[in-house]
């Protein structure tokens, strides 16, 4: 994708599927996905609490706001795991879905 000033390209890798959408400068990754009617990352609380939108950043730079440690440990964060609702890309970025597994009722 050609570079457009003030817009970064986000590519979401989920298994064999790849989805791309634009992220406006200063925009949060997950919120930009929703605003552009794109999909690829699961949407939860949108506030860094529930962990549903957990991804691993494979390439690119970003700033991150506080994320629940329950879902992104310090080691995770050092390895590029983030919650998509809490990061603001500062370059083109490629992420891989890494959701926290949702437990099933029958495992209770």
């Amino acid at each position: 994708m050609d570079h457009v000033e003030g817009v970064h390209c986000c590519t979401v890798v989920d298994g064999d599927t790849t989805v791309s959408f634009d992220v406006r400068d200063g925009g949060r990754l997950l919120h930009e996905m929703i605003a552009h009617r794109a999909a690829g990352i699961s949407v939860g609380c949108r506030g860094g609490g529930c962990g549903v939108c957990r991804v691993r950043v494979l390439e690119g730079t970003y700033t991150a706001r506080r994320m629940s440690r329950r879902h992104v440990s310090e080691a995770d964060e050092a390895n590029g795991y983030v919650l998509a609702c809490r990061i603001v890309p500062t370059s083109d970025i490629t992420v891989q879905c890494a959701p926290v597994p949702v437990p099933t009722l029958s495992s209770a």
Binding site: C45, G47, G48, G49, V52, R65, S68, P103, L105, S106
Partner: protein, 306 residues
């Protein structure tokens, strides 16, 4: 109904990731009154129609969720009675001295089988910002934002819900207003200690100690619609609603605070009496029970919590 024993939900302590954002949300959007900040940084709030000093406590932490939900009991003798009953039921209790929060007496705390901390207390200071008691106006100052009147109830997720329900009923005198069979391995219970359709509710989840939502009461369905107007104006993330619960019959919106804790505005709901039979929902009708108009659960109901 002579209400004694456990009177009602007293307070809930919620963990937030950013205190400044949380204060704007709970004070200016929900319309709670900001009572003050404790020496440890916890922020205390209350609804305009509550007499006691505080009912919502925000604590900044590195993860969202709920620290504790507490119930107010009739008096100190009742607190002693419940302590003895809990110990006789083999529940390990601990004691929190008066003053651990401003304006509250001693508390008795314990962990329930779902992994949540519950506390009981008998005394809290009266708020200067509660309902007037001599020639009372409707309110002391006009409500702000959504105008939430009080902290109403919470829904908690965790394992061992049948044991939790037994503990609340056998030891604390609650009753099961409604129950649901969620299919293999899952149940849900709506428990009341009062005339309300529920004061606390639980849904099975393998993950202990999880927080689904804290609910704040509004007087009418028009107030729920107004709350929705506030949510859209301020771009607050709505989970579902406005809609109605089949369970409790309350009108509702589920939405999220800025760090992902789910809130609810809740109006109506039927009046419960202790001789009422338990209402039961079967697995094929649970969607209608939770969201009466949509008649199906949204993906977030079982998978999004803090």
């Amino acid at each position: 109904m002579a209400m004694n024993g456990v009177l009602r939900p007293g307070f809930i302590q919620i963990r937030v990731l950013d205190m400044d954002e949380a204060i704007v949300h709970y004070r200016d959007r929900l319309g709670l009154h900001e009572v003050g900040t404790g020496s440890d940084g916890r922020v205390y709030l209350k609804g305009w129609d509550e007499f006691d000093r505080h009912s919502v406590i925000l604590r900044e932490a590195d993860e969202a969720g709920m620290d504790v939900m507490a119930f107010k009991v009739l008096d100190d003798a009742t607190l002693n009675e419940f302590t003895a009953k809990l110990e006789a039921y083999n529940v390990s209790v601990d004691h929190v001295e008066a003053g651990e929060q401003p304006g509250i007496g001693r508390r008795v705390g314990f962990e329930i089988p779902s992994g949540h901390r519950i506390e009981l207390y008998a005394q809290m200071d009266r708020s200067d910002f509660g309902p007037e008691v001599v020639n009372p106006n409707v309110w002391q100052a006009e409500p702000r934002g959504m105008g939430c009147t009080r902290f109403d109830h919470a829904l908690l997720y965790g394992p061992n819900i049948a044991a939790v329900s037994d503990l609340f009923c056998d030891v604390l005198g609650f009753r099961v207003a409604e129950q649901a069979d969620l299919g293999p391995g899952g149940i849900a219970v709506w428990l009341t200690c009062s005339n309300k359709a529920h004061d606390i509710a639980f849904v099975t989840n393998p993950d202990p100690g999880r927080f689904h939502h804290a609910a704040f009461y509004l007087e009418t369905v028009n107030d729920v619609t107004h709350a929705g107007d506030i949510m859209s104006y301020y771009d607050i993330t709505i989970d579902v609603g406005p809609t109605r619960h089949g369970i409790t019959r309350g009108q509702t919106i589920y939405f999220f605070d800025p760090c992902g804790n789910r809130n609810e505005v809740f109006a109506g709901g039927y009046t419960y009496y202790p001789d009422n039979p338990t209402r039961t929902w079967t697995p094929d009708q649970i969607g209608k029970g939770i969201f009466y108009y949509e008649r199906e659960l949204n993906d977030a109901f079982l998978s999004v919590y803090t």
